[in-house]
């Protein structure tokens, strides 16, 4: 039993390192993310914002604080947007912060 656990740990570490190296090389993160600890709403963001390059803004260069600040500005109307203003209004500042932090720990943001 104990051995099995150690083995699992080793593979997970390997996985995390591979993911890390992936983003260092600038390639897209291999889908999918682990959503088992995702705060409400967070996983839905990934439907548009991949870590790869597309026509949509990537979150890769942003820190958790950058994302939280942007969400606050979209919510208050302080920052213009085509769409994010409509989405940000559906999340409280606390929810937005939890989402931003999860995205960062997933390697999706900086």
């Amino acid at each position: 039993m104990k051995e099995r656990k150690t083995f699992r740990f080793a593979t997970t570490t390997g996985g995390a390192l591979t993911a890390l190296l992936f983003c260092l090389c600038g390639s897209s993160l291999a889908a999918p993310q682990d959503v088992s600890q995702s705060p409400p709403g967070a996983s839905a963001c990934l439907g548009c914002h991949s870590a790869g390059e597309t026509e949509l803004p990537s979150l890769k260069a942003l820190s958790a604080l950058d994302i939280e600040t942007a969400m606050d500005a979209f919510r208050s109307g302080g920052r213009d947007a085509t769409l994010m203003n409509r989405i940000a209004k559906g999340f409280t500042p606390e929810e937005s912060r939890a989402i931003a932090q999860w995205l960062a720990t997933q390697g999706h943001a900086k």
């Binding site: 656990k5 699992r8 740990f9 997970t12 570490t13 996985g15 995390a16 390192l17 890390l20 190296l21 983003c23 260092l24 897209s28 889908a31 999918p32 993310q33 682990d34 959503v35 088992s36 600890q37 995702s38 705060p39 409400p40 709403g41 996983s43 839905a44 963001c45 990934l46 439907g47 548009c48 914002h49 991949s50 790869g52 597309t54 026509e55 949509l56 085509t82 769409l83 409509r86 989405i87 940000a88 209004k89 559906g90 999340f91 929810e95 720990t105 900086k110």
Partner: protein, 415 residues
């Protein structure tokens, strides 16, 4: 980011938290490999669960952007995906139709008779076109008047009929009452067909016969049609006599309570219901759709079976690929939590649907959803459609974002 000892340590610390997740155990079977089911299979498998995906087709042909294929702006190959990445990831793929669900012993029977047991079942069979709801419109009729509401041969048939039509012809689209797959879809299709006609058959017209008096992004579509297509596009709603009550497929005639309309190309978008397996297993109610718990997506009529995507009663959420994918992730989270013996937190979901009015002009609708009174309800104050007075550059940006969304979501689901 530089790879320092500190970042490495941080990475292993994050990984150290993982064994708790790895303890999530259980056998999950997913029926249907579309935007909902394929997403669910991937995210459940990523959490360490034993996942079997049941899907009869080797290829998935996606509906989003298929209206551009009809208008000759895109190739069907850009709509076609395989399950190779899911198999590489380690998901067990079974190329069969699920024909029976025996929930009392938690077992699915496949078309070939093989049985598969589950602890939790995810049901994502999408829609069935209801060939009993509109007199004259059955599967045979759809070879003369295509629906093109499931992408593939039907998409190409409608495109070929448009290409073969003489200039000066009339194209008619009939749209069903709510709810149905992709609420803005018929109107995006009308727009892109109008684009094709304007550029290739300028004397032709397009008529939409609608069983409703209001539709998604209506004021934006209506204004754009007027601006771009003049009087080439005409829409008749329910109270104007737009409800189609019968079709005569051989003559391409749409019958309404007010009279008959003859088309040169006729596109019938018929009423729909949840995929057959949901109906035969008794998971759908009398409306033809499956009511669910908005936190866990567990079917109200069948414990241990979770329904996502077009087949479920999404409350405020439209039947879209975006919704199906977002629901799949929220459902995977809930199943993982339940299998650990814990209570899942209430989810929040997002939907965004872009519609092309012409190649460099898109409009969007968005919403945020949370459980309320047993349904997934709109979060008040959030969501809505693109600004009515937006500039051409904003419309062009939204068309670019639509492309970006498609790349991202298809990568997340099949890539």
């Amino acid at each position: 980011m530089r790879l320092t000892r500190r970042t490495l340590l941080a990475a292993s610390a994050a990984a150290l938290a993982a064994p708790a997740l790895a303890q999530t155990q259980g056998k999950v079977v997913v029926i249907g490999g579309g935007f909902g089911g394929a997403s669910a299979a991937r995210f459940l498998h990523r959490m360490g669960l034993d996942v079997t995906l049941i899907e009869p087709n080797a290829q998935y042909i996606s509906c989003p952007f298929s209206n551009a294929v009809i208008a000759g702006l895109r190739d069907l190959s850009q709509q076609t995906f395989t399950y190779a990445a899911l198999e590489r990831q380690g998901i067990r793929l079974v190329r069969q139709m699920a024909s029976k669900i025996d929930n009392s012993v938690r077992r699915v029977t496949l078309a070939d008779g093989v049985m598969i047991s589950y602890d939790r079942l995810v049901l994502a069979p999408g829609i069935d076109l209801n060939f009993e709801a509109l007199p004259g419109y059955d599967e045979a009729a759809s070879n003369l008047m295509p629906h093109a509401w499931k992408a593939g041969a039907q998409t190409m048939l409608l495109r070929q009929q448009l290409e073969a039509m003489n200039d000066g012809g009339t194209v008619i689209i009939s749209a069903p009452a709510n709810p149905f797959r992709c609420p803005p879809g018929p109107y995006e299709r009308a727009s892109l067909i109008a684009w094709y006609l304007k550029n290739n058959k300028p004397k032709s017209k397009l008529l939409i016969l609608d069983s409703k008096d209001a539709f998604s992004k209506q004021s934006l579509f209506t204004a754009a049609w007027k601006e771009i297509y003049g009087d080439r596009v005409e829409w008749i709603g329910l109270s104007g006599g737009g409800k189609v009550i019968e079709v005569k497929a051989k003559d391409k005639i749409f019958v309404t309570e007010f009279g008959e309309h003859k088309a040169d190309v006729g596109n019938v978008i018929p009423p729909q219901r949840a995929g057959k397996i949901a109906i035969s297993a008794g998971i759908a109610d009398q409306t033809g759709w499956c009511p669910i718990d908005p936190v866990t997506f567990e079917a109200k009529l069948a414990p241990h079976i979770h329904v996502i995507g077009d087949a479920c009663v999404g409350g405020g959420m439209p039947k879209s690929a975006f919704s199906a994918n977002a629901q799949a992730k929220a459902c995977a989270y809930a199943i993982g939590t339940l299998l650990r013996g814990e209570n899942p937190a209430e989810p929040k979901l997002i939907n965004t649907c872009y519609s092309l009015v012409k190649p460099d002009y898109a409009i969007s609708v968005a919403g945020v959803y949370a459980p309320a009174k047993g349904l997934l309800a709109d979060v008040q104050g959030a969501g809505g459609v693109s600004a009515a007075n937006a500039s051409a550059s904003v419309r062009a940006a939204e068309a670019q974002y639509a492309d970006g969304w498609y790349k991202t979501i298809t990568q997340e689901v099949f890539g």
